[in-house]
Amino acid sequence: MENLENKSSEGNEVFYSSAERDYLSKVKGSSRLEKYSCVTGCINCISCGGND
């Protein structure tokens, strides 16, 4: 497995492609809004019991 130790810094241009950086910037909002605990929607939403 590849070493991920140096890859956890979001937005790091060395390790992330532009498509990846774009994606991460778009989903970043979901992580700071814990009250919206269920962000998967639809069928997955129900399967998690709605409160994970």
Partner: protein, 357 residues
């Protein structure tokens, strides 16, 4: 939870012991519900789970693995697969019809770290058996719920809301409580794209709103005995506004709603990838890797284009709702169009006030 999720919903096999009228497989040329010889083998499944684990770690998200079917209990190496997800401590759920969950099977599943599981009930006994195409479907599903409960697996009962079963809502809630289920929720039905709004099981916006209202009434009666989930995407219309939503509208920041394009993908039994199980647009194969599939595929990028969606739908709630993209696609042929079941125009101030935060 403290961080966003990344999930794979995996159709582990096409094999199924039931013949449900609303099954996706009927529309995909697999009316016999049998697996072809192109099933992902255990080695490929492990590779997919590795990918989920390491991509989640890379993106600092919580991995989730949801195993559906066909019927996942018909997958012969299911227990080996659960051993593997358990080794990574990946929260894993089964989406099952429940009929094959015997006492011993529920013990085996529980032992492998599955703490929650979804079982479908689509009406009272008579209707469920009609929808599910087998006379034993209801009785066995109820047994499955009881067996899971006895082995400390928390069961969510999921009902697909149809024109033919919408009046069974209370019966299904009561029967779920009696069987020991901890959660109950319903999902909207995705109509057959060949029929669109003429699909006889399709609920229009007004009917959908009335169903949500009825659910709220039943929550008042049964909410102390079972948790009634307001998690289906259109519940966002019935939930009150707050500063966070206001900010998301103004800045176009995704904070929730339909997860298609954002929080995961669906993988079919042969490795084909869809954005969502309900949205049958092939975007690639799982062997291309999650990072490429999620970040680079055009359909996924479009689903994340909130500005375009806002234009198409003329709706300011796109950052936390977006309706169901699959229903929009099934009816209009455009997955970026307005969800035809959206009942925003019917919602009253009183509905928002009834929302329990």
């Amino acid at each position: 939870m403290g961080q966003g999720q990344l999930f794979i919903q995996w159709d582990s096999t096409n094999d199924c012991n039931l013949r449900c009228s609303h099954c996706y497989h009927n529309r995909e040329g697999n009316q016999k519900h049998l697996q072809d010889n192109n099933l992902m083998d255990f080695k490929k499944v492990k590779s997919m789970i590795d990918d989920l684990y390491f991509t989640s770690k890379r993106w600092e998200r919580t991995p989730r693995f949801h195993i559906s079917g066909g019927e996942p209990l018909m997958r012969k190496d299911l227990m080996e697969i659960l051993n593997y997800t358990q080794s990574y401590k990946i929260p894993t759920r089964l989406l099952t019809n429940g009929t094959l969950i015997t006492k011993s099977k529920s013990k085996e599943i529980s032992k492998r770290g599955v703490k929650k599981l979804q079982i479908s009930l689509d009406g009272n006994e008579e209707r469920h058996n009609i929808v599910r195409g087998k006379h034993f479907a209801y009785r066995k599903a109820i047994e499955g719920i009881k067996n899971c409960t006895e082995n400390n697996i928390s069961v969510t009962v999921s009902m697909t809301a149809l024109k033919s079963n919408k009046n069974d809502l209370e019966d299904v809630i009561k029967n779920s409580i009696d069987a020991g289920a901890k959660f109950f929720g319903f999902q909207s039905y995705v109509p057959d794209s060949k029929l669109g709004i003429n699909d006889p099981e399709f609920l229009d916006a007004k009917e959908t709103y009335n169903l949500f209202k009825r659910f709220r009434e039943l929550s008042q009666i049964y909410g102390g005995k079972i948790k009634l989930l307001e998690t289906e995407v259109l519940w966002n219309l019935m939930h009150c506004d707050d500063p966070l939503k206001k900010e998301s509208r103004e800045k176009g920041i995704f904070i929730g709603g339909c997860g298609a394009g954002y929080t995961g993908i669906t993988v079919l039994s042969d490795g084909t990838v869809y954005p969502c199980r309900r949205l049958p647009i092939k975007i690639g194969n799982i062997n291309e890797g999650l990072i490429s599939l999620i970040t680079e595929k055009e359909v996924m990028r479009n689903l994340r284009d909130l500005n375009q969606m806002k234009k198409n739908t003329n709706c300011e709630k796109v950052s936390y709702c977006r309706g169901c993209r699959a229903i929009a696609y099934a009816i209009t042929g455009n997955y970026m169009a307005k969800d035809p079941m959206c009942f925003k125009e019917f919602v009253k101030e009183k509905d928002l006030k009834e929302h329990k935060k």
